[in-house]
């Protein structure tokens, strides 16, 4: 069962996305801010991280930069999630080191495709 770390400060976003991912067969761990996300990624080694970008304490962009700079967490795919549907947001997320990007409102089928593509790519490396 692939383990996904969901880093999301909004309680309702966390609740509904984690429930839907669990129903689809993923194990989901939760972090409420960027700092907690970094800590859990280092200690629990998830297979993939879903990272909200507008986070308290440490932003999603900074958290991703730190994770990608650390040899222990560097290989973990990071999929950015944001409600900002602007082209610049996608570029900014990828520049921070995110492996892919998706916008809210979440379209679950589209998100699952991206998750599976990243997990397959990660497993092949």
């Amino acid at each position: 069962m692939p383990k996904i770390l969901l880093v999301e400060d909004n309680e309702m976003n966390r609740d509904m996305l984690s429930r839907r991912l669990v129903k689809k067969g993923y194990a989901v761990e939760l972090a409420l801010d960027g700092a907690q996300g970094i800590e859990l990624a280092r200690t629990n080694h998830p297979d993939l991280i879903l990272m909200d970008m507008s986070l308290p304490v440490i932003s999603g962009w900074d958290a991703t930069r730190q994770l990608k700079a650390d040899p222990v967490t560097h290989p973990i795919p990071v999929l950015a999630l944001t409600a900002h549907a602007m082209a610049a947001d996608r570029d900014q997320a990828l520049a921070a080191g995110c492996d892919d990007y998706d916008t809210k409102p979440i379209e679950l089928a589209r998100l699952l495709e991206k998750i599976e593509a990243l997990l397959s790519r990660s497993a092949a490396q």
Binding site: K23, A83, H84, A85, K104
Partner: protein, 130 residues
């Protein structure tokens, strides 16, 4: 109009709309699993109205030019009509046999719609005060 740039405004609008869509999709999945036609119809109605809100945001807030007060007034009027329909549709339906299991998710949809309505009213009040 309250001081908001286009990026922030879209974020403030999209977040509760995301909740309305997400919870209505959860309800739809649960209704399908339970074979609850009443809840399925209810969830489809909420989701369809949530999609209309997304379309309103995408079509009417594509650029900064759309931030003109007159156009925003038109947009908010559309929002209020749809939010009213969502509030009505998310009232727990006593004919659903699984009502108790879904009340929490319906309540979260109502909370998101209420949050969005309050945000629009706040914008409107700020607009008249400035």
């Amino acid at each position: 109009m309250k001081e908001l740039n286009l990026r922030s405004l879209k974020h403030e609008l999209r977040t509760p709309v995301n909740h309305i869509l997400g919870y209505s999709e959860l309800l739809l999945e649960s209704a399908q699993d339970a074979g609850d036609d009443t809840l399925m119809t209810q969830a489809r109605g909420i989701h369809s109205n949530g999609r209309k809100l997304v379309e309103l945001i995408d079509h009417n807030l594509a650029s900064d030019e759309h931030m003109e007060t007159a156009r925003m007034g038109e947009l908010w009027a559309g929002f209020h009509v749809i939010l009213d329909q969502i509030m009505k549709a998310s009232t727990p339906n006593s004919t659903s046999q699984w009502l108790g299991s879904y009340t929490g998710d319906l309540e979260k949809i109502r909370r998101a719609a209420t949050q969005l309505t309050a945000f629009l009213q706040d914008l409107d009040t700020s607009s008249h005060a400035s």
